[in-house]
Subunit: 299 residues, 2 copies
């Protein structure tokens, strides 16, 4: 059974296409690794790349990408809306198939060690790979961004990196490496232009205000459609599933006399999340995922 | 993109394990073909093998399996409950991935030609590969079984094979080759022991009594569970989907004041059929199947 891990590194470059291109090529230079997505955001001045493969090649590709970014991006000259502390800012590993979260944490540790030893960029571990509870979330690590961290490192022991000396890389800053579950960008559209309703439902279902765990949600207007949207990040669909939030939103909307217009998945989604939905709605008993014909071909 | 075709040949041998084993080995002797299932039924005196692979290897494996059966099975000494006309009785090809039904029809024609030319077993084409409308269904081809067909061939032009001389093979009979959509064995269990209700619902939904096209259905008792079951063959889930029949049965049961206990898929199911369910229930808009992360890996 082939192990598949996904890596979604974020780089502090969203304007110079040639730089992002060079980073993509560094990833693609590792045989058997597959680049699935490449997004550049000029306002954020940030690029997000997505690639998958078996564990060892994915770590190698992540390292080459970080090395390329360290060489080409100078944070002392970088400005953008998105908070950042490094040229290679955040590098999460996500378990996709036949691999545990623990193994992905090990991959994060391995990459972190190499980034320090070979590139002299200090490393923090976050999410499931965090070594300290207060480093599970990114904002606490990125507090004050590159400019503040540069001054604090070496003075404030609380900001010591998890790997490497407490001295920021002069141009490439520091890098955050971690492991997390697959995130699904999922939106439910309501057949109304009542923004307050979408916002109220978002508040009711999101984790931060006591709703479903692992759900981030906001209400938006879709002006051109005359509809509103509950826009979500499903951070861990094994904890709160896509059909669970869909049904919760449907119930809330119906209680307000509003129908569901539809829903949408933005970007990539793990197959498992869709199969969960099929299984739940069809009330399938005793279903084994290896009954799926294609699975037998692929494994 | 790799083309994947499934083949589910039925052989007139369900008692002598060594014979079925030899046929399985003939299939497995073709590199890159994958044997997924092997079922023997002593009462029916029949075996059903399931294998998949790319088109050319699958045809080669099907041919080797038929040749093995022709050599080892003597229909003049065969008895069993299931109707049959040949040692290799029925050989359907099913399109699974990146292949059209038309291409599967071509594979059926190719196999049929080889079975006649190299094994001297006359061949009929059925289902989507049928050359005559009255040969789309198996019962019309198998009328009277081996014993009647042996006498009729050469006398009744209506029973002439589609390939080969109108003279049955003395021990291996004739073989039916075809192409069809993937069949899903799907059952919905009702929280009642009222068999008449399951039978009434089955009658209402099945194609033969004016219900949904491509649905076969029967009502059964599940004695040990104290429940009843609507047991179905979903012959073409692209015409009538799994969620369509599930919802129809749910509505009928609820109208009779009975709840759904659950549903079950027996054996293999194409991924597509489950994705259809997820898409329908979540009311997904603009969803592209290549948003599924694993799909990008597999294609």
């Amino acid at each position: 059974m082939v192990q598949v891990v996904e890596c979604i590194p974020n780089f502090s470059e969203g304007r110079r296409a040639a730089v992002v291109q060079a980073i993509s090529e560094a990833i693609a230079s590792v045989e058997s690794v597959r680049l699935l997505g490449e997004e550049m955001d000029p306002d954020h001045n940030r690029a997000v790349l997505t690639f998958v493969g078996e564990p060892d090649p994915v770590v190698e590709a992540a390292f080459r990408a970080v090395a390329e970014a360290v060489e080409r991006i100078d944070l002392t000259k970088h400005q953008g809306e998105h908070p950042r502390i490094g040229a290679a800012d955040v590098v999460p590993f996500v378990p996709i198939a036949n691999i545990t979260m623990e193994e992905c944490v090990d991959l994060a540790r391995e990459l972190g060690r190499r980034v320090w030893e070979e590139l002299r960029v200090p490393v923090y571990f976050y999410a499931e790979a965090a070594l300290r509870d207060d480093r599970r979330l990114l904002p606490s690590i990125r507090k004050g961004e590159f400019e503040v961290l540069r001054e604090a490192m070496g003075k404030d022991p609380d900001r010591d990196p998890d790997v490497g000396d407490p001295k920021i890389h002069p141009t490439a800053g520091a890098t955050v490496v971690g492991a997390r579950g697959p995130l699904i960008a999922y939106n439910v559209n309501l057949a109304t232009d009542d923004l307050a309703l979408a916002q109220a439902i978002a508040k009711k279902i999101r984790a931060s205000s006591g709703g479903f765990p692992e759900i981030q949600a906001k209400g938006f207007s879709l002006e051109d459609r005359g509809q509103v949207q509950v826009s979500m990040n499903v951070m861990n669909f094994r904890v709160t599933s896509v059909p669970t939030v869909f049904e919760a939103i449907r119930k809330e909307a119906e209680d307000a006399g509003v129908a569901i217009a539809g829903s949408e998945i933005v970007g990539l989604v793990p197959l498992e999340a869709l199969l969960d939905a099929a299984e739940a709605y069809l009330r399938l008993e005793g279903f084994q995922r290896d009954q799926i014909l294609e699975r037998r071909l692929w494994e």
